[in-house]
Every structure is written in C-alpha cells, then in structure tokens.
C-alpha cells in the first residue's frame, strides 16, 4: 500500500469506498505496482479479497506483499484471501486428470466462456451461511490481468460478460469492490483489447492509468499516473499528474509503508 496513492485517491484503509469498480490500465510502463497496492490496501482494510492472479505465481505477490506490509500466507490461512493461481491451474488442467472440474477448462476447450471462473469467484466471496466465520468488511475481487484472457483465446465479449456478472454480484449484491488490470496497447492494433478497455472504462467509477513519459525513457521517473474519477452526482474528471514524487519511492526496492 502506498500512502501517497491513498492521499491522491482520498481513501484510507479505515474508510474505504464500497460498491465501486476500479479499472487499472498501463501503457508503455508496468502497472503491476497498482495491483500490489490494492491488494495490500484491501487486506489492511480487513476486507475479504478474492485475487485472480493469471500471470504470476503466488510467491511473487507474497514477496512484494511483505515489502508492502501484508502477509499473504497468513491472510490465506485465516480465510481473508482466496488466491486463484492461473498458472498452476492451467498446468493441472492440461496435465492432470481430466475428470476433475477446473475453473480454467476453457484452455482445453475451444469454446470460451468464463462461467466456471465466475462461479469460483462467487463461491469465494459470497459469505457462507454459517455465522461462525469472521466477519470481514466487504468482499473485493481483484483480477491481474484481463488482457491475458484475450491471449488465451477468450473473446472480449466473454470477458465483458464475466466482469458484468462479477460486478452484479460483488458490487451491487454484496456491496463490495472490483478492481481489474488491463494492458493498453495503443500503438499496436489490438482491437479486441481496445474494445475491452473502452467498455470497461465506461463501466468503471475510477480509472487509474499508468503511462510512460511522453518524452521517452527516463531512469528516475517511471512514468505518470492519470486518475479519472467518474462520480454519480459530480461528473468531474480529476487528472492528477503528480507522479514524479510517487515513482521515486517505487524506485527503491522496498517501498515505504507507514502503518
């Protein structure tokens, strides 16, 4: 969790916003730090988090999480974090026994729909009937990242359906949040990706866009961040470009985290 980013967004772990869909984009730079930020932010805010990690292994997030002050293993053990590791599941789908049901079976089949993935998310975040479970604040779905699904042959429409279902369940029904990362490839002609990004941007209440600097590569500053907020009553778009200070902190291997 980066305190500077919290200040820019006017949130804190004590009073996070609810019922929101946040879209994270990156273009010509790596937006992974935003994912790590939100993961640690919501864990600290005592929310139940379902993290669908499609591109990296669990230990990667764990190690970065330690630098940011959260312990993913402990969170997983106490039931606060439900971690779905895409890479591991894929290997199990292809090389494991064919009978066991798997959330990523679309890799094996040509037909692509993310229904099984949605059911997994729903089961993870819907509070179970028994009252003995610890009460978390609200559920959060975090996806890293959606562009990989396009590479795996899922159509953009199927991804949009999945997000729509998740928003309906998590944001509206369970009053939680959904955060998803999409890579922006504006210089390449990836039309599906562009369509996905535009559609998701339209549905989201907050867009965080990490971009590379227009003037080129710079070693000290990794890029700039644009924050677009779409409120219901006050449709003002804040574009904040205060990134030089923030990204200097990131540059140091272990980021500062004030508790």
């Amino acid at each position: 969790m980066f305190p500077e980013l919290n200040n820019l967004l006017n949130v804190s772990p004590d009073k996070p916003e609810q019922g929101k869909f946040t879209l994270l984009c990156d273009a010509k730079t790596d937006g992974g730090f935003l994912v790590h930020h939100f993961l640690s932010f919501y864990l600290k805010a005592n929310c139940k988090v379902c993290f669908v990690a499609l591109l990296q292994s669990f230990s990667h997030y764990n190690i970065v999480g330690q630098k940011l002050g959260v312990n993913l293993i402990a969170a997983r053990d106490r039931g606060q974090l439900v971690f779905f590791e895409g890479l591991k599941s894929t290997v199990e789908v292809l090389f494991g026994s064919k009978e066991q049901p798997n959330t990523l079976k679309f890799i094996r089949e040509s037909s692509s729909d993310l229904k099984s993935l949605y059911e997994f998310v729903q089961k993870a975040l819907t509070p179970s009937g028994d009252g003995s479970a610890t009460s978390w604040k609200f559920p959060v779905l975090l996806v890293d990242d959606l562009s990989v699904l396009l590479s795996l042959g899922v159509e953009a429409v199927a991804v949009l359906d999945f997000i729509q279902y998740c928003r309906a369940t998590v944001c509206c029904q369970l009053k939680g949040n959904v955060v998803a990362l999409v890579h922006d490839s504006d210089q390449t002609e990836d039309e599906e990706n562009a369509m996905l990004m535009n559609a998701l941007g339209h549905q989201s209440s907050l867009i965080l866009r990490a971009e590379g600097l227009v003037t080129g590569f710079c070693k000290d500053v990794h890029g700039q961040l644009k924050i677009l907020r779409r409120g219901l009553l006050q449709p003002k778009n804040d574009e904040a470009e205060q990134w030089n200070t923030l990204l200097k902190v990131i540059e140091i291997p272990c980021a500062r985290a004030r508790i």
């Binding site: 190690i63 002050g69 591991k88 590479s151 390449t188 227009v214 990794h222 990131i250 540059e251 291997p253």
Partner: protein, 543 residues
Amino acid sequence: MESQQGEGGTELDSQSSIWVNTGGNKMAALTTGFGRARQGGAGDPREYKAETAAGGDKLGGGGGGGDRGCSFLRKVSVPGSGGGGGGGGGARLRSIAGTRPSVQNGQLLVSAGLPALDQLLGRSVSSERRSASSGRREGGRERGKKEGKEQINRRERGCGTIQSEEGASTRPQDLLWGCSSPTAPLGVLLYLRGGGLAVGTLLLIEEDKYNIYSSLIFKYFLAEGIVCGHTLLVASAKEDPGDILQELPEPLHDDNYKKVLDEGRSHKSQEEPEISMKIAWRYQNLPQMEAGPGTSSRFGHYYDVSKRMSQEVIQSAKWHKFFLPEEITSYANVESCALNHGYTKLLHFIQRVISEQGFDGSNPQKKQKNILRIGIQSLGSPLWGDDICCADTPEHMHSLTRFLYVLRGLLRMSLSACIITVPSHLIQNKAVTSRIRNLSDTVVGLESFIGSEKEANSLYKDYHGLIHIHQIPRLNSLICDVSDTKDLAFKLQRKVFTIERLHLPPDLSDTVSRSSKRDLVESAKQLSPGCGMMAGGKEHLDF
C-alpha cells in the same frame, strides 16, 4: 546499530547490515539473510531469505510454505550447515553449478551464455576487495582482475563437475552485507555485476531477418548449459537437435580470450589511434559494456564461434531431444486442448521431462538438483504447423499464446530456464507480437544490418546489428533493473560477440555538409524510443 528512520530505502551502516524501512517494523533486509546464510555454508539463498523475512513479521512456515514446487521460493527442510566444500549434498539444495543469486529479488540466475547479454538482463551482486589506500577505481579493478582470474582458474578446473563453489560468485568473505566475520575488511566495495536469466523464466529472442545472430545466441545458451553441467532440452522443427548440438561453439579459456581481445584491439588501433581525452578525461576509462573474464564474473563463459565444441564434451552432456517431424507421425485428430498439435506434443514432452527427471522437486531424494535448460527454435514458424507468420488474420491466432502461457506455468514450477526464438518479423498482426511479448518474461529483439539500408549508414559502420531489450521481468519486486541506455548495437568479431552502447558522434561544426547532417538526424530518429515495458514515448528529442 540501527540507522535512522528516514526516507524509505536501503541504508548501509558500519556493521554491514542493511535495514529496510518498512513501516514500524524494521524488517531485516532480505539480502541480509542471504549473507548470513552464506557464512554457515552453501545453501539455497531463497530459503534463508524467507526465514529472516519471517523474523520481523512472524510468518508461519516461511515464504515458500504454500507452494512447494515453485522455483521462486523453494523451501528446503534440510538445515544448511557444514563447510563450504564438497558437492555431495544429497537432498540439500546447495548452490547449483552455473547459477548465482540475484540479491535484489532472491532469484537464482543462470547465464545466457553471453556475458554481455547477462549484464543487460538484471543484476546480481558480487564484490571486490579494495584496500583503503587505493582510491582509484582502476586500481580496484586491477585487483579484482587478479582475484577474478584465480577464481576462473579454479572454476576451469572444476568445469563440468558439480561442486558447491562452482559458479557461486559469492563467498562469505566477499559479501558486503550480513558479513559480521572479523576478517571482512572495512574497505570491501560492493560492485554491481552483470546479472543473468532468472531460473523459472522465459527468454524470448525475436529473430533477425536471416536468423544468423539469433541462432548464435541460441547456441550460446545451449553451450553454456553444457559447460555448466545443466541438462538440456532442445526442440526444433527445422533441424535435428543433434545437428544443432554439433555446431555449438567451443568455450574459450581465460588466456585464449585475452589473446583474442588483444588481437582485436591491436587491429583496431592500427586504424584509429586512440586519442586520449583532454577535457572529458574521466570518461576515458568508461567500460564499453563488455566485461572480460578477468574483471567480472566466474559465471558465464566466452565462446569461440569459429571452432566447434569437442565431441567428448558434447557427449558428456545430458540432453533430451524433440524433433517435430519425428514426433508427429500421423495427423490424427487428437485435440486434447485447443492448441496446435505440434505445440501440444511439445508441452507434453517438456512436462514429462520435468516430472520424470525431478526438476519440479517431485523426487527430493534423488541426486543433486540441476537446472533444465530448454531451447526451442523458431517457434511460431510455419514448420510448427502454425499460421501466425503466414496470414494477417490467422486461424490459429491463439495457439502460440496459449502455448507460451502453459509453458510459463511449467517453468514457474520447476528449476528450468527457457530460450525461445520467434521469427516475429514475419508476424503481420502486431497485436499477436505484443501479446507474445506480454506473455514472456525477458524479450530481446535483434535487428541485423544485412541487406538493409542501415548498412550504409556511417553511424553503424562498426556494427552488425542492433539489439533491443524490449522487456525485463519484475520478479518478486516492484521494479526491475534496466540498463541506462536503450541504444545498443552488437558486433560479431572474429571470435567474440560483443554488445556496445551506441553513441551519436558529436556534430562538431556548422560547415559540415547538409546531407551528412541530415543523415545524423535520421539516425537519431532511428534510435529506439524506449523499452516497451519501460516509460517510452512517441516523440523524439531532436538533437
């Protein structure tokens, strides 16, 4: 002695331990743990890293408890004690031959076979002794040269066998941090040395047009594997992997390399006498990015491309072969997944080798751990049955990307490193190229000047091509190490492949004819705008 709680970052105090400011808890630095572990004896650096990280936060079971088979954080239950020598460790994950740790993110690194390329692919740590009296950097380097030479000779002797010292570029007395041994001098200087390819990751080489230099890098990678004693898996659809192995370059021994370098230098100096700089004299001795074996590493070898590796060495290597025409005997419709038939077979083959040979940790009581080096040649070409190189809107657009995704999963779970060459200049659909890049960890593109108009450009006259580092992975950390410069060119000298920074010559006078000035401006525009995953932009600054 604790350092002050100031701005975040790493601060070095006199007791040579590094504290990282992470909130209220001053966690021992991840690197400190590694250093301390090193004192007790060889051991998996990541194991100790997890333990010391646990100290601050009371982690249960260490960092790797959740995923046993993951190569990024392998937890070994055997306590690492005992002396540093001897290789017969049984189940103990000692330092594996030909690897070295990346202290920044706890990764194990292997050499790509080309030390110049290793330097560009991330950093690891090595150190060099320097007495307090020698203030000059050159003096330090001289000493390092001598020291490095000793170690290289030691390594050369032990070449091919697995010993705990081999390839391990960090000895207890060499490390700066975590070293509370009384013999550690205060003047130990930390030197960031060239890195390498992280174990568990994928190196994608975007081929140059005629596949000359990319196949050379492919062979360097395999040759490095043989020299370090790693197991190889070579897959190709074009040539028999046995033939590929016959063409591997011969490793150069230390004194041979020096001879070759000197020959090259004397040849060059006959053409241009070296002018010592008068004003910018401090830049006189800046390295050109190539590091000779005497100065830096005991990790990564040099090869003579004009000679072949000897038969005995090749035959002593352990390797697995996948030659597509032999594997696919019939085209029966076995669609176990929506992947190309050839890719499916290859994935099954790789998975079988990994699990049977125990690279995923499944047979802990077996012999010493080793690295599996996978090399796949010209993936995506029509010979693999894929049509992304043939059509603008290919039918099997997702075959290769799915393959890369599954391969990534396999690599992350095993002690392996993979190199793939892809003829991306043939791929018409740029979306596919960017997806392929996103699914790989490290992406290097080669652009050779053969047959292009750049060959005539005076800027490039000394070189054979450009090398673009499109992407470097961020593993276990928020940032990655990028080299300062994006403009790199390579040349294949008589026996050695070098990578150098590309400089624009100074535009000295106004009376220079207009045409040549325009050429320079054009060249400036051709310099790359930036690494894809790093901050880049559309507009160039005009010189």
